[in-house]
């Protein structure tokens, strides 16, 4: 193992640096940045770096939407959920007015209907079985979890299957997106968005108090929430729209399937202008792939800088099975639900789009089902 031990001044403790994986993460990031800069795309380099920062922030703050939601549902603890709302409030302060006022910027929107409800609900089940959502899967894979490597593989497969199901799900009906700034202007839209966050925070705290549980976010979640919110703004500034995760997975899967001979010409999803363009262009021309790659390697660098990387044993087979099933459900659910915790919930609410809250309301009961299923795979309900 290529690790070195360094003394931490004043503490007497030794910190293991995994030089092999730290070097691998930094070299991979440098190669990707060099490729996009050679194409004359500095904003693409900024997206990779934004993702890199997000990977570090998530890993260091141990910021987990999945565990936070589970702790709220099982014990009433609200600190993690409130940390998630801090991310949205920080991001919304810039995204709502900028998307409404500036050309070349837009918020995250999505139609309201059965597809959104079904997708978010199924995603909720999957995230509890896999033990990580979209961003959680990325940073834990980057952090050296072989279990989440399995979840990511099946997330990718599930999202390609979801891309084939989405047109039929949309045919079930729905209404156009509802964006606060369309009705109230940029500043009225921001005020309503922040008010909705305050109302949600109040309700969450009330539930926690009623159950006699802690509702104060930890220091990690406050600092991590602010840092992730600020990095989300940086990604928005570089990409022109809020940070999203899961379309990248769908694209990776479709490109691999295409290379293996699968023909997407007959698939309606891949004939829509955006996906069709993404499938034919370089993978480094897709904004979500750029931040995803950055996040993976950022988390890998942060993990390898502090301890031997991926040095743990594989978990039991039942746990790996849960990761695979959870990944598959999340992938399928993310396509039907227009994203994950980041793309649909954080991006949607931070844009002032109603679908973000609808996604949250549908994913939460899905999480309850997922939590009840966890013991079947040897996982704790806590």
């Amino acid at each position: 193992m290529f690790t070195v031990a360094m003394a931490v001044p004043g503490s007497g403790a030794a910190v293991g640096i995994d030089r092999l994986f730290l070097g691998l993460a930094l070299a991979a990031t440098a190669i990707l940045i060099a490729l996009v800069l050679l194409d004359g795309q500095p904003l693409s380099a900024a997206l990779i770096l934004g993702g890199f920062g997000l990977g570090i922030a998530f890993l260091k703050a141990e910021f987990s939407y999945t565990a936070s939601w589970r702790r709220f549902l099982t014990r009433g603890e609200a600190g993690g959920l409130l940390g998630g709302l801090i991310v949205i409030a920080v991001a919304a302060a810039v995204i709502v007015p900028t998307a409404a006022l500036k050309q070349n910027f837009g918020g995250t929107i999505a139609p309201l209907g059965p597809s959104l409800l079904i997708g978010a609900f199924v995603f909720g089940i999957g995230m509890q079985l896999a033990n990580g959502c979209g961003s959680g899967t990325l940073y834990t894979v980057g952090g050296g979890s072989g279990r989440m490597l399995i979840a990511l593989l099946f997330f990718i497969i599930g999202s390609v299957l979801g891309s084939l199901s989405l047109p039929s799900a949309l045919a079930l009906g729905g209404v156009d997106p509802v964006l606060a700034s369309d009705y109230l202007g940029p500043w009225g839209g921001l005020a309503v968005t922040l008010a909705s966050l305050a109302l949600a925070a109040g309700l969450i705290v009330a539930v926690a108090k009623r159950r006699g549980a802690n509702f104060m976010p930890s220091r990690n979640y406050v600092i991590g929430g602010i840092a992730i919110g600020l990095l989300s703004i940086a990604v928005f500034a570089a990409g022109g729209h809020p940070w999203s995760v899961t379309f990248g997975f769908t694209l990776w899967g479709a490109k691999i399937a295409s290379a293996l001979g699968f023909d997407f010409l007959q698939a309606a999803f891949w004939q829509w202008p955006g996906p069709k363009h993404a499938l034919s262009e370089s993978i480094l021309s897709d904004t979500s792939s750029l931040t995803d790659f950055g996040m993976l390697f950022g988390a890998m660098a942060a993990a390898a800088a502090s301890k031997p990387f991926a040095a743990t044993a594989w978990p039991p087979l039942k746990s790996l099975l849960a990761a695979g099933i959870g990944g598959l459900l999340m992938g399928w659910g993310a396509r039907l639900g227009f994203g994950c915790n980041i793309g649909a919930f954080v991006g949607g609410v931070a844009s002032g789009s109603l679908h973000g809250w609808v996604w949250f309301a549908a994913a939460l009961p899905g999480c309850l089902i997922g939590i009840r299923l966890r013991p079947l795979f040897g996982l704790s309900r806590e």
Partner: protein
């Protein structure tokens, strides 16, 4: 079972080769975009609006 580190090394190497290979063999016609940047897109994945059907 194969040690996790060896799996990681293989996956990262394979992924890098695939990314670089795809980039060098595919067109990249300008700044990076998302499906939602295209006209008529109503969601991050580029799905059309229900009213446009």
């Amino acid at each position: 079972m194969i040690p996790m580190r060896k799996i990681y090394i293989a996956v990262v190497a394979l992924a890098l080769v695939a990314i670089v290979g795809n980039h060098l063999t595919s067109p990249s016609s300008g700044r990076a975009v998302s499906p939602e940047d295209f006209a008529g897109a109503c969601a991050p994945c580029g799905a059309p609006c229900p009213s446009k059907k």
